[in-house]
């Protein structure tokens, strides 16, 4: 390989100490395409990024397309069962090799000139090789791939950074809520069953800023809360527990190291079987399936109905994974002003048959309970994110504030392991993650993609 070339245009240099303060961040983080490009390397190239769930590639040769930042990837379980993240970019002249979203393939043939790669990434054939003088068995002609791909209990992450800590260490204490979220399902097992797929005209960080935000709920989701409670007396349904004085209530915010955070709303729900089901909004088939489950499983119906209900947690893994309710929500930066956010629905798998005949009804309910929020809630947040992006066109009005709670140490307690615990509407999670963001943006990661198999 040739030695490192100087870029033809000088790279712009940013002073992130002056763009990210303790209490505020500069608008250019959300509007400057050059900062966005840098993020694709220094954030998405530096940390573990969520790619897919193992249930999307259950068998050898199964694949699904994904992106790491903007790098197009094929996430594949190769013929030997090894999870890989191959660049979906032909080594020859760069064409997209695989153009199906998902499927099963032992090999991928580039449609342009027919170079063929095994699903390990190894180049296996080139048309009319006598026209070349090189040795195609050398790894330099294999598909590029992400060097480190690991699954944490079914959640597949990858990092390009040779110096990144292990995935387990990167996750750190956010593993506890992830484990608890998984373990509420029989066998700790889940399956992805399609998705509510959304996007918005705004920067990807607007979504991360919102991910543990308990401040916006009763305002941004006002129409949803009204809708969920329209047929009954009082406000017991949905996220009504954010009303009145949420900061003195049982909802807690956990800000973890490495920019992860967790909004725990479980203590807002009484600890008894059926309590989660009792606050579910109204969905198609609710009364039908509830009656059937109570008839067929009188002792276990409440527990089954809770399994169909939305788990009151928001678990956010920097930079692009959000586990909330029963969803695996993944965000993808498309450009400085455009972001995709895909809400994968999950189904209970029940590997040991604990649910018996209740499995079908639980999942039938669960599909509907999961559609409610993206359809009637998230769309309003995304509209608000778009209006932030529009507002940030005001160049002189340059700052975005995140100082709720700052200077009020009595609002926080130490959760150990570098964790800060704060009240429901606090912005400490945003200050903490922006500190991590600033450090990452000031560091060149050891990006080390490989072509070795």
């Amino acid at each position: 390989m040739t030695t490192q070339q100087k870029p033809i245009l000088p790279e712009r240099v940013f002073d992130f100490d002056s763009l990210v303060h303790e209490d505020r961040v500069h608008r250019s983080l959300y509007t400057d395409p050059a900062i966005f490009d840098l993020e694709m390397t220094r954030i998405f190239g530096a940390v573990w990024v969520y790619l897919a769930h193992e249930s999307q590639v259950p068998q050898p040769n199964d694949f699904v397309r994904a992106r790491l930042g903007r790098r197009p990837l094929i996430v594949v379980r190769d013929s030997n069962g090894v999870l890989r993240a191959l660049y979906n970019r032909c080594t020859h002249r760069g064409a997209t090799v695989c153009r199906r979203d998902r499927g099963s393939a032992k090999a991928f043939q580039c449609p342009y000139h027919g170079w063929t790669y095994l699903n390990t990434g190894k180049l296996s054939g080139v048309p009319w090789p006598e026209g070349y003088s090189c040795d195609f068995s050398r790894p330099e002609f294999n598909l590029m791939q992400v060097p480190r791909v690991e699954s944490y209990r079914g959640l597949i992450f990858a990092t390009l950074n040779a110096d990144a800590p292990s995935l387990t260490d990167y996750l750190g204490p956010v593993r506890r809520p992830i484990d608890e979220w998984l373990d509420r399902h029989p066998g700790g097992a889940l399956e992805v069953r399609e998705a509510n797929r959304l996007k918005f005209n705004g920067n990807w960080k607007l979504l991360y800023d919102n991910s543990a935000d308990g401040y916006h709920v009763v305002f941004s989701h006002r129409s949803l809360l009204m809708m969920e409670n329209r047929l009954q007396d009082g406000d017991g349904k949905g996220m009504s527990y954010y009303k009145d004085s949420p900061d003195s209530g049982p909802v807690k915010l956990y800000s973890f190291p490495n920019a992860h955070h967790f909004k725990d709303k479980r203590d807002a729900i009484p600890k008894r079987p059926g309590a989660l089901w009792a606050i579910e909004g109204l969905h198609p088939g609710m009364e039908h399936y509830e009656a059937a489950l109570r008839r067929d499983f009188p002792d276990r119906a409440d527990a089954f109905l809770d399994l169909a209900s939305s788990e009151p947690v928001n678990i956010n893994v920097f930079p692009n994974l959000h586990i909330l309710g029963n969803h695996i929500q993944v965000s993808e930066p498309l450009s400085v002003t455009e972001t995709a956010t895909t809400w994968y629905g999950t189904a209970v798998v029940d590997p040991d048959g604990e649910l018996g005949a209740a499995l079908g009804p639980v999942n039938a309910l669960r599909m509907r309970t999961q559609e409610q929020f993206p359809t009637f809630g998230e769309v309003d947040d995304l509209a608000n994110f778009e209006q932030i992006q529009a507002g940030l066109a005001a160049e002189e009005d340059a700052w975005i504030y995140m100082h709720r709670g700052l200077g009020l140490p009595e609002r926080y307690s130490d959760g150990g392991d570098g964790t800060t615990i704060g009240p429901a509407t606090d912005e400490v999670f945003m200050r903490d993650y922006m500190r991590v963001y600033r450090r990452l943006m000031q560091t060149e990661p050891a990006i080390a993609p490989t072509r070795e198999i």
Partner: protein
């Protein structure tokens, strides 16, 4: 079994269960076949007028009149994949029963649905209307194409696809048993999919 008052599909959902889903999936599988096409111009005209009225009511935001076009026990189904799948097993773009259709309309009327505040302006074109017989003389399946122009936040954009209506003949016209809306981009990431299709 609920008392009659509990069975009002506007306030409870007893009719959506395994049998309902299975019948719905069956009704929307392999139904638009040549040998079932109904050529009668008078029937086609009547159905076309019905769909054009539906489009007009939605464009005007006259949701009460639009809801009245549906049967009490109905379904509004926007599949999330071109294969359409089985909504009892997978996530859809939208799957509403009667009560949730009313929820949708209620939410839009609150004034606090920020994705629709101000409400989008829409103009719908409905075309390629074809009728297909079912095993039941009182029920007809209709396939139509649609193109919706939407002005959202000052910007003009479009939704395209085809719809399947399962219509029951009533004394003075039709009533919608189920409407399936097939967006051509149903499995792509959609920006602000909050208008009613």
């Amino acid at each position: 079994m609920g008392a009659p008052a509990q069975r009002d599909p506007s306030t409870s959902s007893y009719y959506v269960g395994d049998a309902f889903y299975a019948a719905l999936v069956r009704a929307f599988t392999d139904w638009d076949r040549d040998e079932r096409a109904i050529a009668d111009p008078a029937r086609r005209d009547a159905v076309r007028a019905f769909l054009e009225r539906e489009a007009r009511l939605l464009d005007r935001g006259d949701y009460a009149a639009w809801l009245a076009m549906f049967a009490p026990e109905c379904a509004y189904w926007v599949p999330g994949t071109p294969e359409r799948g089985d909504p009892s097993r997978e996530i859809t773009v939208a799957f509403h029963d009667r009560r949730q259709l009313e929820d949708r309309v209620y939410r839009l009327g609150t004034g606090y649905a920020w994705s629709q505040a101000p409400a989008s302006r829409t103009v719908r074109s409905v075309s390629n209307v074809e009728l297909f017989a079912t095993g039941d003389a009182g029920i007809v399946m209709v396939r139509s194409n649609f193109l919706i122009a939407e002005l959202l936040d000052g910007e003009l954009r479009h939704w395209a696809g085809w719809a399947g209506h399962r219509l029951e003949t009533t004394g003075d016209g039709f009533s919608i048993l189920a409407k399936q809306v097939n967006l051509i981009d149903c499995d792509r990431n959609l920006r602000n999919p909050s208008i009613t299709l």
